[in-house]
Amino acid sequence: MYTETQILKETSTSLLNGEGELVINVGPQHPATHGVLHLVITLNGETIKKIEPHLGYIHRSIEKMCESLTYRQFIYVTSRMDYLSAHINNHACAMAVEKAMQIEVPQRAQYIRVILDELTRIASHELWWGALAMDVGAFTPFFYAFRERETITDIMEETCGARLTMNYMVPGGVMADIHPNFQQRVKDFIKLFKKNVDEYDDLVTGNVIFQNRLKNVGYLSPEDAISYGCSGPVARGSGVKSDIRKIAPYDIYNQVQFDEVLETAGDSFARYLVRVKEMRQSISIIEQLIDNIPEGEFQAKTKAVLKPPKGEFYTRVETARGELGVYIVSEGGTTPYRIKFRSPGFSNLSALDHISRGSKIGDLMATMGTLDLVIPDIDR
């Protein structure tokens, strides 16, 4: 039996000699992890030797829950996965059901879906931007980010009926038609946002102190990004083309002009730049669509009870964090036999150990910030 003092004495002498290890827990309740992520970090002095993410703290077994819900109902539960891009999650699930049932979605609904998707993406990146700046020690950007995000949530509330968990998708279209003010308000937002995003660049992107915190921190090589299955801005920051909107365009993404943002540096600053540039791309997508929403139905005629044929169906979309895949196995009944979500956050988190080994613990928050982890998405 060791006494506490003995253990302390031995660990401290071995640490002084530079051979010991110190294991610390970050989370599950930690202000810098933005959620209930639990990391067990092995340190040598201040250098990180190993990071082990422990999952399960907010596991709600959403996949299992979906198996007992009908094809109309399960869509709304997925808003609670990646709550920052709830609308895009719903989109993926609605698309999977449409694929299974072979429902043709009206043009108008597709336009509305894509515009709202891009608004959601901007809102999500805004929150990430503010939170990252706060992680590395700047407080003001958080308020500026929320100011713009508030405009988006107002637009969402007016049209979808809720601010965060929109629940606006139904198989075959959207739940209701857009609010008459919708187009005007989105246009006002674009005008406002274009001005403000330049301010972001002045305040944060161009700031040398901020750059020094991110540059050369958390390098992820393209090979590693592929082998860890990273997607979204994390992979694109390493120069890996992974935008589902380009690779496998869904809805009307093949009709709009936009660039897939690629940065080759692979460090945290590259991932930062990808997201900031992506916000501008989203704005340009919305600009192309907002004036051309065609007239017509917003919802296809569907049966009251959806019964997809026996088979397996897979769809994928690009959420704000990367590739979200929905895999449905149907036995021909009213509820799915099995549902599996491939969430982007989980794969991006698994690269965290790899990219932060050997760096200092102070850099960990910057690395985690640029991975843009949303914990309910990782741990469903």
């Binding site: 540059k215 050369n216 080994r357």
Partner: protein, 177 residues
């Protein structure tokens, strides 16, 4: 210090100039941007003195509707409970007696109707499912409370005030007055 795994790689970026190294210019620039916001329009609302109206489609607390004559519309068909993904709705049906025609519109009515607001995810599927336009989601967000029991809303809490006998309350509930 040599990194443990040799995984870190120096990314080529242009070196900082002398002015940049001083940080002073950047600090001043940042200060200028934040300071200039003093003269801009305030985006916040002085809650609770001022409140922001919610949009008409906002999905808040449920309301059980009455028809023009003040009769309850709900016929306890159970479609809302079936459509609910959160299994938040329970009800008990009863048969209308003779002489109760002024209370209930249909021959069958809900003797007990409860919505558990802790389970509810405010998706609006119950509203969509209802064939009698009886249940709908109002613009009031769910209030906070101290006990779990108080979140189980009974029929009395959900019913909209009678347009004939409680005109004042109805006006208040609809936010007119």
């Amino acid at each position: 210090m040599q990194s443990l795994t040799n995984r870190a790689k120096q990314v080529e970026r242009k070196p900082m100039t002398f002015i940049e190294k001083l940080y002073l210019w950047n600090i001043l620039k940042g200060m200028f941007i934040t300071f200039s916001h003093i003269f801009k329009k305030r985006p916040t609302v002085n809650y609770p003195e001022k409140t922001r109206p919610f949009s008409p489609v906002f999905r808040g607390l449920h309301v059980l509707n009455r028809d023009e004559e003040g009769r309850e519309r709900c016929t306890a068909c159970g479609l809302c409970a079936l459509a609910c993904p959160a299994e938040a709705i329970t009800m008990e049906a009863a048969e209308r007696k003779i002489g109760e025609e002024n209370l209930y519109r249909e021959e069958k009515y809900a003797a007990r109707y409860e919505i558990n607001m802790l389970r509810c995810i405010f998706c609006g599927l119950c509203e969509e499912a209802c064939p009698k336009d009886a249940v709908y989601l109002s613009e009031t967000p769910a209030p906070s409370n101290f006990t779990r029991e108080s979140f189980i809303y009974k029929k009395e809490d959900l019913l909209i005030p009678d347009p004939k006998t409680e005109t004042e309350e109805l006006k208040k509930a609809k936010g007119l007055n």
